[in-house]
Symmetry: C2
Subunit: 334 residues, 2 copies
């Protein structure tokens, strides 16, 4: 079964491109609030669950032991743009652990933030592991490894205690069994487990509300949500969708992107978790799908106005001329 | 109607993402040789028809008048990566016309080629119009404008003689009427006209063979094909799909990418034109769709072996680990 077209890309008055996808929104008991497309199909959550991957960091006491504050926690949940301010926090995390940059096993890439990448090149610098968008998450994994006295050189392997904690946490929040046959390697070399889209939404609903969790985990979730929604720039970066939405909505929306068109959100006040998968893996369309979903679920004029630039973004060409835009399809109509 | 899934992206053993699309392959008389998905749906050809946009440059005698050789002609057909060698040819074209860089109205962006962009930043440079992937095409337009003594400041406007020549040429090759309601603005600010995918393939079949053309246009098409297939690096750049395929296949395959998942090819020896549209606009999948189409139409073991890296590319993560790959679906099976 093909999923429905959820986003259209216009050039002039014609539809130039089309994105299919699926959207699941559920409450913390797993009741469907919105289901577009095949919400039972497994998706790799990739970086969209970094905050869930960071739960053991807080729940274990590791973050407190090494003095990680809200900025460090936000970085542990981040797909950051590699701007100097992001790099500084990651370097601080490593320094607290007494580790050097070589301890990061995420791989090396240039900063996502173009101006930062250009400034780095202009200064004669080169890409380093701290610039990798996942470096904060990896510093968080290292923190857990240090706190439990585990091997810091192998923290990214599926059998390592750190990744076992992560898997157990994801299984509990999503009420899913994650067997080896749904495990693959993420862009930053840690395991990623595929789970049904509606179960991913369930995990977010629980992360957003703390329901059906032991008190220690619920407190950890609340601390991570607060760190992210009060430091949204640390979670992504300048001009990024996650950052801009959380800057506008504060504690009302926790939002996190993942590679290959995955988006997760939690709405604590409404008790809702959302998971979006753009079938083709395109971030631009996943953002519109998420914005349209938030618009439908929040369902009020003030929030609609705030979301409008994300629901119907304009597209400009290299001369700044508006040449088209993106829009959600009728599938989002109640 | 949704188009079929034509390409799957694997992570580990699971399908992570899916790309739908359409493929049309026709001969110069418009007979269908392959039709996957809705080949009657209009698509904006974008940069995939730069060689057709360059026909008036040669046919009018403008290229000869200003001494443009094969490198200049290949650049006029190029979506180049902004490497120093590309920029040098564009600057030479402008110098032949007695024009400065300000005459280019394509807009400014950093070189697509990352190492060139970094070297530029490292040297204290900044993005300029010559780095724009379309700057060679624009230099070609300017050449026509100079040769016919037309306004060089407005060459990108739909009513300008240069764009009228382009439109007339595309209409003739595609046997399509291109009215104002299917016209939009391209990324580099020139007009782009949407036409049915099978008509786009027809235009390529005629460009590839010179059939149903006056002799002067057929000779112009042959010169442009020869310029591109003997200078494939000039048409795209280091590591690019168009460049690597034309380096392997020489005059047997003319290949050109366009934005938003469009690809065009012409196979002179078989008399075939191909047009591909990846619905979601993703280049990675359009390349696999084109490679799989070429593989099917060429239909022999030696060519299959040469195309294999493009038909089933591996995906590596930031640590160089193979984490998955892409593959065409059963839809390509005869």
């Amino acid at each position: 079964m093909n999923n429905p077209v959820l986003v259209e890309v216009l050039r002039g008055t014609l539809v130039e491109s089309r994105h299919t996808g699926a959207v699941a929104a559920v409450d913390a008991d797993g009741h469907d609030l919105l289901a577009l497309g095949d919400v039972k199909r497994r998706v790799f959550p990739r970086s969209a669950i970094k905050a869930i991957q960071a739960l053991p960091l807080v729940e274990s006491g590791a973050a407190d032991r090494y003095g990680f504050g809200p900025e460090e926690l936000a970085l542990a949940c981040a797909s950051h743009s590699g701007e100097p301010g992001h790099v500084a926090v990651v370097e601080r995390m490593l320094a607290r652990l007494g580790l050097g940059e070589a301890a990061l096993k995420c791989g090396v890439h240039w900063p996502i933030h173009q101006a930062s990448a250009q400034a780095l090149a202009r200064a004669g610098g080169a890409a380093r592991a701290v610039h990798n968008n996942c470096s904060g998450k990896h510093a968080g994994f290292l923190c857990v490894a240090c706190a439990i006295d585990a091997d810091v050189a192998r923290y990214m392997q599926p059998a390592h205690p750190v990744q076992r904690f992560v898997k157990d946490t994801l299984e509990a929040l999503s009420e899913s069994l994650l067997s080896q046959d749904v495990c693959a390697v993420d862009g930053c070399s840690v395991p990623t487990w595929a789970l049904p889209l509606d179960k991913l939404a369930l995990a977010l609903a629980r992360f957003a509300t703390g329901t059906h969790m032991l008190p220690g985990r619920a407190r950890a979730a609340a601390r991570l949500r607060e760190a992210c929604t009060t430091h949204p720039w640390h979670v992504a970066g300048s001009g990024r969708f996650c950052t801009e939405v959380m800057q506008k909505f504060g504690s009302r929306i926790f939002l996190k992107t993942g590679a290959e068109g995955v988006y997760c959100a939690g709405l604590p006040e409404l008790g809702i978790g959302i998971a979006v998968k753009c079938d083709d893996g395109t971030g631009r369309a996943a953002e519109v799908m998420m914005a349209a979903t938030l618009d439908r679920l929040l369902n009020n004029d003030a929030d609609s106005a705030a979301l409008e630039p994300f629901v119907r973004p304009q597209l400009r060409n290299w001369n700044g001329i508006v040449v088209g835009g993106m829009r959600p399809t009728e599938a989002f109509r109640p």
